[in-house]
Point group: C2
Chain length 243, copies 2
Amino acid sequence: MTAKYLQIAADLTNKIKHGQYKAGKLLPSEPVLSELYRVSRETTRKALAELMSAGLIQKLKGKGSIVLDRTRFAFPVSNIETFDELNKQEQMHATTEILHFSDTKMPSSITDQLDITDPTAIFVERLRSINHEPIVIDQDYILKKYVPHLTIEQAQKSLYSYFERDLGLEIDYATKTITVEPADKKVIQSLQLEDTNLVVVVRSLTYLKDTSFFQYTVSLHRPDKFKFVDFARRKAQHGRIIL
Amino acid sequence: MTAKYLQIAADLTNKIKHGQYKAGKLLPSEPVLSELYRVSRETTRKALAELMSAGLIQKLKGKGSIVLDRTRFAFPVSNIETFDELNKQEQMHATTEILHFSDTKMPSSITDQLDITDPTAIFVERLRSINHEPIVIDQDYILKKYVPHLTIEQAQKSLYSYFERDLGLEIDYATKTITVEPADKKVIQSLQLEDTNLVVVVRSLTYLKDTSFFQYTVSLHRPDKFKFVDFARRKAQHGRIIL
DNA sequence: ATTTGACACTTGTCTATACAAGTAATATAA
DNA sequence: TTATATTACTTGTATAGACAAGTGTCAAAT
């Protein structure tokens, strides 16, 4: 049973996307929505908080909740996303080629900082292409204890759906860094780089719901195909929640 | 008067940063914290929700709130930040050189999408250096109606503190895109690029609390000095809040 | 020894109520 | 006409209470 406030958030999200509530206009007020959905005002507010953090609305004290126009900003990569999910949203012909698949250990750069009991891992390197153009190389190090039976066939599809749907692993958060670095010859060749030897490197440390470290991913993007879209809210200054 | 839950969040944040609550350990339970701060449990929960969205803790149903280890991830640029703020956090010698300062109009690429009544704007181009190394060129287009009296002296310092402290403008959110693009000769020279002609381009559209568009910024980063750090939470799948 | 169940904790959701504070339009007083 | 209250909305904060659901422990039954 999903929570009421999530159902309401989902419903409002759909109505916004289908233009039932239009950008620039106000949503019905909290008491009205509460009446509509037959819930308390606090529950309505929780639903609106979801839309707020998703960047779909902006709440204005004394006025109401304005629907923001985010249609232009296609996909917020600040979420943890999958190549596959991205593939469904945009309608493109995406393929995956496995370059490597083997047992290995977590890189020491990771184990040094994270005290991991058993660094035994599976290494998967995949080349992703869209419309026959190479776009990105994904290098995944996955702790073996979580995926002892991972096969090359599953890696061919989506790792995330295998983790979540098949294994029931609950992925919860990740820390990411984006940098620009020179690539070695193999990568230059795989990505068919021409005028440059630079690639965009996205490094992700992925954690499960119980805060245990799970996966380290290095993504090497062709710079001319890379785009990162973000929606950032300015945090409350007075509260000093900023890090 | 700041809200109680923000004060509590601030206090907990400090205690975590000063090691009073240590990474990997559990915070006191919600009822205990409520007792401690003499507030209701809902208020405590609001404070914890702040820490949660800041990536400082992870809540586990049935167990408690674990303090996450984020010391390694120095600054999350997913927030809206200033060169100056960044400068204070890291302790570095930062300088700003004004390259251009003039009246202009918002670029049509912006006005095309945003229906702006008066595109009259001020253009400020600044070269930021750290330890005498050029790092980034900031090109700001600010709607003139908000800053009719902006001077070159203020631009020399921090635009943000001028906006917020002096003018009382409340900046609230921004949409950002990060791409990698070829630079023209002027930029190459200003940033002292050598082996490459690529720069990292961060484009930001900044909005005020009342959702009015305010400022367009193009930041051109030297690729070898660029680093973007992000903390991403996986959104609830069932609720389909994902865009 | 192993399983089962009860129990005491934890966080998650939801309600009903109250008051504070910002916004906007309208009526009132100068 | 112009300012000033009044009023009726809006969202923001905070409380107290209730029950659901996940976790871990420990005792009792198998």
